[in-house]
Amino acid sequence: MTKIAQSSPGLRRSWPEAPSEPRIRFEGKMMLPGLILLAALSILPFLALVAMSFSRVRLLGGVRLELVGLSNWVRSFTDADMWMSWLRTIIYFVLTVGLEMVLGLGIALCLYRVLRGRNLLLGLILLPMFVAPSIVGLLGRYLTDSTFGLYAYVLRSLGFTGDILGSPTSAFAAVVLMDVWEWTPLIALISLAGLSSVPQSVREAAAVDGASGWMTLRFIIFPAISNVLLVALLIRSMDAIRYFDIIWVTTNGGPADATKIVPIRLYETAFRFFDFGYAAAIGLTMLAFSILIARAFVRMLDTRGLTR
């Protein structure tokens, strides 16, 4: 109503005494509470984090910052352990997201062909997704426990003599698989939604033209659902970079730092060593990395016209 009044020349002419254009327009006023809330929740903490990254933080007697210049940043870029954590994070990221995409899409394709009981099957497949990650970690820890764990028992009967969470390679594989177990259903669900949107007529036309199953998949299905897959990839990627709970519960970053990815190191630096300045530098680097990944995906979506 107000907008109509402001934009209509006829109405403006009838109130020549109307005040000039206000500094904050109606939309701005409406958005102001939200912006204030956003500032309180995000912008101010972000600025505090930036300030902390250039400081040494004292806790006792109230939080105080002592400026130390670039030393936290220099340390974060020259710390060999930190670089190893980044390498592990990237390997972990590629493995979890890659496996989840492949398995999720595979499950979605299988489910799409099921006509009877699809909802029941889908419900069962989605179950892991509803479990809290820390509970997934606990479950994984008990299943791999060498005294009473089911998986440990099965692997032992197959000739595996070590302890699953006791050696670097198997521990890393175990935490990757726990994440894959939990989040593959999400990819399956998103992919299934994408598959349902592929027009039946196009599939039938391909079949009439004699396209094989693989050709249909390659030239019809994948191009049709690629945008949906890209969104799924974006969602999972943002999550995988921040992965924490399962590793913290199962291996605590060990053995031999084999599962110490950047979020674990960040937590350790902040809340075990209380070196908040260095932790802020690590956190901001993680944020920059997340933004880079997100920008890459958003750009891909943008080129396809999906962000408009």
């Binding site: 040494r56 933080v57 004292r58 806790l59 006792l60 007697g61 109230g62 939080v63 002592e66 426990d145 060498s146 005294t147 009473f148 003599t161 070590g162 302890d163 969470l165 006791g166 050696s167 670097p168 291996t251 605590n252 970053g253 060990g254 053995p255 031999a256 730092d257 084999a258 350790e268 809340f271 075990r272 060593f273 209380f274 070196d275």
Partner: protein, 490 residues
């Protein structure tokens, strides 16, 4: 005209809405400020019974989820009846506790008035945030400590209660877990003669055994007793604080140490410990032995902390292990009469039994009456009567930190089976372990948490074969030196 009236009406409605919104905001802000602002002190009734002067106060006690606190929590009613003070107990895993305590001390408010002050993770880094207990102890309006400070075991009072200053006391010894040799008595009885014949020495666990003999006994079980147990020994060798504890027993017995003057750095603590000495020949020899020992231990050892190895012993998987003596009560419950205790073996230089005791302290952010009420809780919870009740508690119970409790006839009687206080079955072993020359005290320095992480991470690398014992010790040395050089700000 009509439109104008309409605008007037709307204006009126707008005004009243604004008033409502303003009112709501003002109320919200005042509630928030009240929540964030300073809280009021506890009431005090002057004169009369000194134990009831803070009647109506509420205390929050934050503690690690340990057996003594479980026993205290199950037995709070006598304190409330005695003082009229309500106590809420929050129990957490140790690292979560340290985090909460640090943030609470930083807030300037004492949400937790009574603090379970781990000497290495709370007392050393945040000593300035704790009350010097000589203040309330000398206050004539407050009750005295029964038996005084002298009744506490002296090494424990220094290790758990003091930091640098020999006079100041920041915490009262509250629990005293100590690592000792826990073994399957039934299996040692069964195989003693065969083992003695095969190994050429009496395998009975005790202070005279050496780590080398421990190794041979463990290997003997691996090779000859698999029908009874899967492995001779198991260890708490997860990449965790537990790995540093387990390794340190061997390190000290081989003559290695973290810093020069290690006994003093462990007992009283320091803010500047000097250069790390883990690169010494003795330390490397200790690391080499530990690596060899873990090579024949249960492979799951690298996934166990103290709880894991305790559960493995109780499940019948292991013949022996080093572990905290406070597991005796749960051992006796799971395997009555089958597990016995001895001090840890000795190395080429001597023996050392890691002490993991903790004190109970008062936050320096407390208001005066709250501080008085917290003192009452400290006095009560560490009193001989309460420690005796805790020993008998079905909810767990630790082991006393006062010499007078160990001297009580019923406690001495409980050192032998059948025992109504199963933790006392370890008394003979821990009595030896607490001798000043045998107690193992890790460095009490403010930056220990980070140093500790460097220690157990490199040890974990050594155990997985990623690095040699020599490289591991040198790597720890350089990392610890870097951490110490950065210093500590609290």
């Amino acid at each position: 005209m009509g439109l104008s009236r309409c605008r007037e009406v709307q204006w009126t409605v707008d005004l009243s809405r604004r008033e409502v919104i303003r009112g709501a905001l003002a109320t919200g802000a005042s509630v928030a400020l009240a929540g964030c602002g300073s809280h009021s002190d506890a009431p005090r009734i002057a004169g009369g019974d000194p134990w009831r002067q803070f009647k109506g106060a509420t205390l929050n006690f934050i503690s690690e989820n340990t057996a003594p606190t479980a026993a205290i929590a199950a037995n709070l009613r006598p304190f409330t009846e005695l003082t009229g003070i309500n106590v809420s107990i929050v129990t957490l895993e140790l690292s979560a506790l340290v985090q909460r305590v640090a943030l609470d001390l930083a807030s300037g408010q004492a949400q937790y008035q009574v603090i379970y002050a781990d000497p290495y993770q709370v007392l050393a880094p945040y000593q300035k945030g704790l009350v010097d207990l000589r203040g309330p102890q000398s206050d004539p309006n407050l009750p005295d400590l029964p038996g005084g400070l002298a009744d506490f075991i002296p090494t424990q009072l220094d290790a758990a209660g003091r930091f640098v200053d020999r006079q100041a006391v920041y915490a009262l010894p509250y629990d005293a877990p100590t690592m000792i040799w826990q073994y399957r008595r039934d299996l040692f009885d069964k195989y003693r003669d065969r083992m003695a014949n095969d190994l050429g020495f009496d395998p009975t666990p005790g202070g005279d055994r050496t780590w080398e003999e421990y190794f041979q006994i463990a290997r003997w079980f691996n090779e000859n007793a698999t029908s009874d147990v899967r492995y001779g020994t198991g260890h708490q060798a997860r990449q965790h604080d537990s790995l540093m504890n387990d390794f340190s027993n061997v390190l000290w017995s081989y003559g290695g140490d973290y810093f020069d003057n290690g006994k003093e750095v462990g007992r009283l603590g320091t803010t500047d410990p000097g250069p790390c000495r883990l690169g010494s020949e003795a330390a490397i020899a200790g690391a080499e032995f530990y690596n060899r020992l873990l090579g024949i231990a249960d492979p799951a050892s690298t996934t166990w902390d103290w709880d894991g190895v305790g559960a493995a012993l109780r499940s019948g998987r292991l013949a022996m292990c080093p572990n905290w003596h406070e597991f005796a009560a749960s051992n006796e419950k799971a395997m009555p009469g089958k597990i016995d205790y001895a001090p840890l073996p000795k190395g080429p230089v001597g023996t050392a039994n890691m002490y993991g005791g903790t004190g109970i302290a008062i936050s320096a952010n407390t208001l005066p009456h709250e501080r008085g009420a917290a003192w009452l809780f400290l006095v009560w919870s560490t009193s001989p009567e309460t420690q005796l009740t805790n020993l008998k508690s079905k909810a767990g119970g630790g082991t006393p930190t006062r010499t007078s409790v160990y001297a009580l006839p019923e406690v001495r009687a409980a050192e032998h089976r059948p025992s109504s206080m199963p933790n006392m079955l370890t008394a003979a072993a821990v009595r030896e372990a607490w001798q000043p020359d045998r107690i193992g005290l890790r460095p009490k320095i403010p930056m220990w948490n980070e140093c500790n992480t460097a220690v157990f991470t490199q040890l974990s690398r050594m155990l997985t074969g990623a690095t040699s014992p020599q490289e591991a010790m040198r790597s720890i040395t350089s990392r610890v030196d870097q951490i110490v050089a950065r210093g500590w700000v609290a």
